[in-house]
Assembly symmetry: C2
Homo-oligomer: 282 residues x 2
């Protein structure tokens, strides 16, 4: 009944006897509570988010549905472990292309312990988080039977420069995806996946408008998922392009202040996406 | 001919034999070039900014006019020292009220030396820069002969909490300014100084729109000045509310990326100002 997710591109994975998330056939995603405060903070976030009546529906749709928590047999065989029960975001999708983008130039909350701050700061400085305000944490481009697939290894993802990020964001919406860097991505799907009234840019702009106002949550080390179905598009069907926010183990009370760290990174990402739509052949 | 400025609220001051800026009677402000790379970086910024033809006039107006550099007798008596020749922003203003707000949750550029990063990080964490995305560096509320004045001392400014910042932003546009914290500021000038089609919020929103697009400059440790004339207002005349950007010793090339650090802090400041306009009696 439970199995490891097929389309996970970042984070802890339930493989080789390790603790990781599981999915069932009913479209639910079981995420093991992280140790220490992280697990309880993520539960607290979902509970606060669900009970907050000021969040408009079009924003709520950017978050996974939360069904509660449950003790489940852990994937590492260590016995019962508490899990968050969430919507499986890729359930029902055929060969999804997915990208996980961690938002914010700073991934640590202000009041963190000193060693945690220094650890995060090194990662932020060693990645594109600091210069770009976001970093790509993982991706897969899945063309179904119609087109080549691409799932770069972690080592490549971790070494991405600003120019690489530009390239990866282009490759994500190209029909000629290749692991070889010499092939210029054609961005042939950009106008539909990124652009248009229901594309990813339009959704990011809705999210931005909310972040300019909301002072309830500060989302540290949280990711935006980009998802769409390339195989479906190449058959002339819909792209099902969608963004979702995930990973709320470091969400804090906003205390009446906007999340300027998330918002800044989001605006930077928006600028990158807009440039691809405006100049797909650049 | 040269004298120390009368209305400086932050930064190095030309007093007690120290090196600081000078003004003349023709409306020019002479700023000594800072030591090391800072001085040359500030000159380089002004030269690049002046020669950049893509910057629209309404944005250019938010910056001091740059007239070049000049060797001048330094205010500390140390002999000739190179100075930036800039527009004296308060020249022609009568009893201006001024606030200096340093923008950005991070005041250090990515490639800074390790000791400089740690020094700035401590200041950012020890002030409201980290939680709010900006910090108040100095202010004076000047009521002319009609109203009390208030110029808090450095020690008070350096200890401001998030709640204090809210209070100071309210006091800045109140007729009943007092150093005593028990007096609730009336925000009676907020709708004109902060609000309205030519008020400070409208100007901040113009600046925000530019920062969402421009990828030429990254402004670290740069300040926005708020200025207006309270005495003039209390006599039924114009507020002359205006914002200006100052201090460009840490401006770097944007390398095609927006300044998400400045933009995030700017959006946070905008939210604070908007709340005061919306609920002046809060």
């Amino acid at each position: 009944m439970f199995k490891a997710p097929s389309h996970q591109v970042a984070g802890h994975q339930a493989r080789d006897g390790k603790l990781g998330p599981l999915v069932d056939e009913l479209g639910r995603f079981y995420k093991p509570l992280q140790s220490g405060e992280r697990g309880s903070q993520e539960v607290a976030f979902y509970e606060k988010f669900c009970s907050n009546t000021t969040i408009p529906d079009h924003i709520r749709n950017f978050f996974p549905i939360f069904y509660g928590t449950q003790l489940l047999e852990a994937s590492d065989g260590s016995g019962k472990h508490p899990h968050l029960i969430l919507q499986d975001l890729v359930s029902g999708r055929v060969n999804p292309s997915i990208m996980d983008i961690k938002i914010g130039s700073r991934t640590w909350p202000p009041e963190s312990p000193e060693d945690y701050i220094q650890k995060c700061l090194q990662k932020d400085r060693g990645s594109t988080s600091l210069p770009l305000g976001f970093r790509i944490s993982g991706l897969q481009v899945n063309g179904g039977e119609e087109s080549a697939s691409w799932k770069p290894e972690k080592k490549y993802i971790k070494s991405l420069t600003a120019d690489d990020v530009r390239l990866v964001l282009r490759k994500f919406v190209s029909s000629n995806v290749s692991a070889e860097s010499s092939v210029q991505p054609d961005c042939s799907l950009a106008s539909i996946v990124y652009g248009g009234s229901t594309g990813i840019l339009a959704q990011l702009l809705q999210l931005k408008a909310w972040f300019e106002e909301q002072t309830v949550f500060h989302f540290y080390s949280c990711s935006i998922l980009f998802m769409y179905e390339k195989g479906s598009m190449l058959e002339g069907k819909k792209s099902n392009a969608e963004i979702k926010l995930i990973d709320f183990a470091h969400v804090l009370d906003g205390c009446g202040v906007i999340d300027h760290n998330f918002l800044g990174g989001l605006c930077s990402l928006i600028k990158f996406i807009r440039e691809i739509i405006d100049t797909p052949s650049a």
